[in-house]
């Protein structure tokens, strides 16, 4: 970056530092006597666990780290040697392979869990995953059962009540393990930090409404979103988003963005292919594609339509958050979200990256393609690979499809509008 820019690169660099420090704390947890809870990203209730002094670990984040650092393939093969099918989730196999290799990955050595909190929010594989870990580690297992958010404008009160009652039960389990009592003031303090970080994160997400967009809401968002999912509720997380906001504001001032010339604005549906992340991005960059909104950046939580954690209603807002993560939404809500994105972010197209590993994400995406391309008239590209397993990434095939799609889109743009048929 030229020296005239003061804040460029902050979002990426600070994120790396924060995650590195977090992994270090996790590695040291056995030495420092800090209890460790494993939980999942979607609808996680990390603020409650941190209030009891738990350090939290997210196996999905470990899996994506292994993916991007290209160690996932070997871990997956190891799990397959242990009997796991080639057709089950690559994240799970990555984790089983990792755990069977002394829990040592590119991020250091991971501690064993004192508590497994399976926040089952829209992914049944979460349950199967932690059932396997509970057997492997003999650790205490708590299943936080989060009902699926079905159609309708509002959450169903009975769903929220149900989650809140379970949070009370979870608090008792946490108290038993940590030796600390539930301190609602501590929870409130974290929820206030969470709220502040969410406010700033939404500002970044909304910045992509500008033309050109200063931010890629998929390829860059996957880095920018890490702190809000793994460190939400901490002061350092708020500090991170303040810095990241400065970077985005500076980009807006100077009209710079993720691609040198923004030619196509797309909404992206689906997770990235982590082991081939860079190559995948390049396939779009060469066409001047900027993802102006994405659904994957909402897997942990959806704030861009106004929802925030609320310190005044600690348990209720934790429950609301748990219910409202992307894959815990019914397809009607997911479709509405994409429609809204396409409109509000002035998208030229929808790109669906369908991954075999994650059926919660994928099953029904073909129906989404039908809906957008045939009913809504929004050009839609559908490509397939995987989020964890490098064996499913066929670059030549993807390139062909992506090139053909944007070529057609460009052609359509340049072609003069067809004259109206004569009456």
């Amino acid at each position: 970056m030229a020296s005239s820019y003061q804040f460029q690169g902050l979002g990426r660099d600070k994120q790396k530092d924060l995650l590195g420090a977090w992994y270090k704390r996790l590695e040291d947890a056995p030495k420092t006597g800090t209890p460790v809870a494993y939980l999942f990203i979607s609808g996680n209730i990390c603020e409650l666990l941190r209030s009891f002094g738990f350090e939290v670990l997210f196996p999905e984040v470990n899996a994506l780290q292994c993916g991007i650092k290209k160690t996932a393939g070997d871990f997956i093969l190891k799990a397959e040697d242990l009997g796991y099918s080639s057709d089950v989730c690559g994240y799970v196999k990555n984790d089983i392979g990792l755990a069977s290799s002394g829990n040592r990955g590119p991020f250091g050595t991971l501690p064993k869990p004192d508590l497994l909190v399976c926040n089952y929010a829209g992914c049944n594989t979460y349950i199967k995953w932690f059932e396997a870990l509970a057997e492997l580690y003999g650790a205490r297992f708590f299943l936080l059962d989060v009902p699926y958010r079905r159609t309708g404008e509002k959450e169903r009160p009975e769903d929220l009540q149900y989650v809140m009652r379970q949070l009370e039960e979870l608090a008792q389990v946490c108290a038993e393990i940590s030796g600390q009592r539930l301190d609602l003031d501590k929870v409130r303090e974290q929820l206030e930090y969470a709220r502040q970080a969410e406010e700033l994160w939404v500002k970044i997400l909304h910045s992509a409404k500008h033309k050109p967009s200063p931010f890629d809401a998929f390829f860059e968002a996957v880095f920018f979103m890490a702190p809000i999912y793994v460190l939400r509720g901490t002061k350092e997380c708020v500090d991170y988003y303040e810095a990241a906001c400065k970077e985005i504001e500076e980009r807006l001032q100077h009209k710079i963005g993720p691609v040198s010339e923004e030619r196509f604005r797309v909404v992206m549906e689906g997770p990235p292919p982590w082991p081939n992340f860079r190559n995948f991005w390049e396939l779009f960059k060469r066409w001047g594609v900027c993802c102006v909104a994405s659904t994957y950046s909402k897997v942990g939580g959806i704030w861009d339509f106004g929802r925030r954690h609320d310190p005044a209603r600690p348990m209720e807002s934790l429950a609301e958050y748990a219910v409202n993560c992307y894959t815990n939404w019914d397809w009607s809500l997911r479709r509405q979200m994409m429609e809204r994105y396409a409109q509000e972010y002035s998208a030229d197209a929808l790109v669906i990256h369908s991954v075999k590993s994650c059926r919660a994400f994928s099953v029904g995406q073909a129906d989404v393609r039908e809906h957008f391309s045939k009913v809504k008239g929004l050009p839609t590209l559908f490509v397939e690979s995987d989020l964890a397993d490098p064996r499913y990434f066929s670059e030549a095939q993807l390139r062909n499809r992506i090139d053909a799609f944007f070529e057609a889109l460009e052609h359509r743009r340049m072609a003069p509008a067809r004259p109206a048929p004569e009456a």
Binding site: G83, Y84, D87, I127, A132, D145, E158, K356
Partner: protein, 396 residues
């Protein structure tokens, strides 16, 4: 088809006759028994995806519960391919195909329990493609030992009851539900009776025969299914079949999507006497009869949480799937375990790894393979099964 002709068992004189008829009707994608029932009664037919749907409620609403088990290998997946990708189990794709290709024009409603990611997402695809029908997504609690789960699930059942009442235009009285529970209790008792007789004398009660009898429950009112089963018990007892060398096996993995019937024939031919299985578990998932007289809804909720067959799609809570399987193996003098998992069925594929470990630890041999609805070549399974049987007969 009028009621006279579909009560074929009343005139049947031989066991084979009943079985042959069941084979013909149970997997007919034209759903003749369902159409006949609707024509006769004017009632609604409410489908459900397999496993843990409380069909007692559907029956109590005066509707016919029909379990949708996909296309039984008879459909080309054409329309459904444009809605659901190919790396998904056959049953989800072919059930959707049944709907899109208009095989289900008789269907008045569909209940989808939250058994897996595929079922959950299928509910949304279904709603999108069949916008005017009644669709109920049922959240089955997974933290079965929590007191909150009981309250929540009872609420879910209340909501299903209200939805069905709206569909049929008449409220579901507790008395109707109690009566349906008694009919279903009788049905489960009869199915268990077949299983018990088969376990005691596998030659007399071939699994493929017991299988088709159970399958009839998916497309008949339970009262009629009970009548069929009672008649079949009499006829089955009277038949004589030759003794043969076979090993006693338990089969797991087929709790939702069903294998092609030929697969069972192949296993039996190879010398596997399947004396315990999870076929059609959706029709018999309570472990004990329900006491449904005082508060029938409560009985359904309680039984789901604490008296339910363990499958890969319910968290066992304090119970243990491997302990449960090992106990069954011991009680039934099982010599080997067959994991037959539907292709792409993640819950079954995850569980088989953990269960296999427990079985190997206990010294029980395991045979594992995958199947698909449209599977037509069984030679590889036959060879694996023969080797498995021989290794038990000659080396155990």
């Amino acid at each position: 088809m009028g009621s006279g002709s579909h009560r074929f068992w009343e005139q049947a004189r031989r066991w084979e006759e009943v079985i042959a008829h069941c084979r013909e009707v149970a997997f007919d994608t034209g759903f003749p028994t369902v159409r006949a029932w609707k024509q006769e009664t004017g009632g609604k037919a409410v489908g459900s995806f397999p496993v843990y749907t409380p069909q007692e409620l559907i029956a109590a609403s005066g509707s016919l519960p029909v379990t949708l088990y996909g296309g039984h290998g008879q459909l080309e997946i054409d329309h459904a391919d444009s809605r659901i990708q190919s790396f998904v189990c056959s049953i989800a794709r072919s059930t959707l195909e049944l709907g899109l290709a208009k095989y289900l024009d008789w269907l008045d409603g569909f209940v989808v329990p939250s058994i897996c990611d595929v079922a959950r997402n299928l509910s949304g695809v279904w709603r999108h493609n069949f916008a005017n029908g009644f669709l109920f997504y049922l959240h089955l609690p997974q933290n079965v030992d929590s007191p909150a789960a009981k309250t929540y699930y009872r609420g879910e059942l209340e909501r299903l009851r209200a939805g069905l009442a709206e569909l049929t235009g008449r409220a579901i009285a507790d008395a109707s539900l109690s009566s349906a529970i008694q009919t279903f209790n009788r049905n489960r008792t009869l199915l268990e009776e077949f299983r018990a007789r088969r376990a005691a004398n596998p030659e007399q009660w071939p699994s493929s025969h017991v299988y088709v009898l159970a399958a009839m429950g998916n497309v008949l009112p339970r009262e009629e299914h009970n009548a069929l089963l009672e008649r079949a018990l009499e006829l089955g007892e009277a038949q004589r079949r030759p003794k043969r060398d076979a090993v006693r096996v338990v089969l797991r993995g087929a709790f939702c999507e069903q294998p092609p019937l030929e697969l069972l024939d192949v296993l039996e031919d190879a010398g596997c006497a399947v004396v315990d299985d999870d076929f059609h578990i959706g029709g018999r998932f309570f472990l004990a009869p329900l006491e449904g007289n005082s508060d029938p809804l409560d009985a359904l909720a309680e039984a789901y949480l604490h008296q339910t067959v363990l499958t890969p799609v319910n968290n066992p809570g304090r119970r243990s799937r491997s302990a449960d399987l090992l106990t069954r193996c011991k009680e039934q003098a099982i010599q080997g375990v067959v994991f037959a998992s539907p292709k792409f069925c993640e819950p079954a594929l995850y569980d088989s790894v953990l269960l296999r470990k427990a079985l190997e630890h206990a010294g029980l041999p395991v045979l594992e393979f995958e199947y698909e609805e449209k599977m037509t070549v069984f030679e590889s399974v036959r060879m694996q099964a023969e080797t498995f049987v021989e290794s038990i007969l000659f080396f155990s």
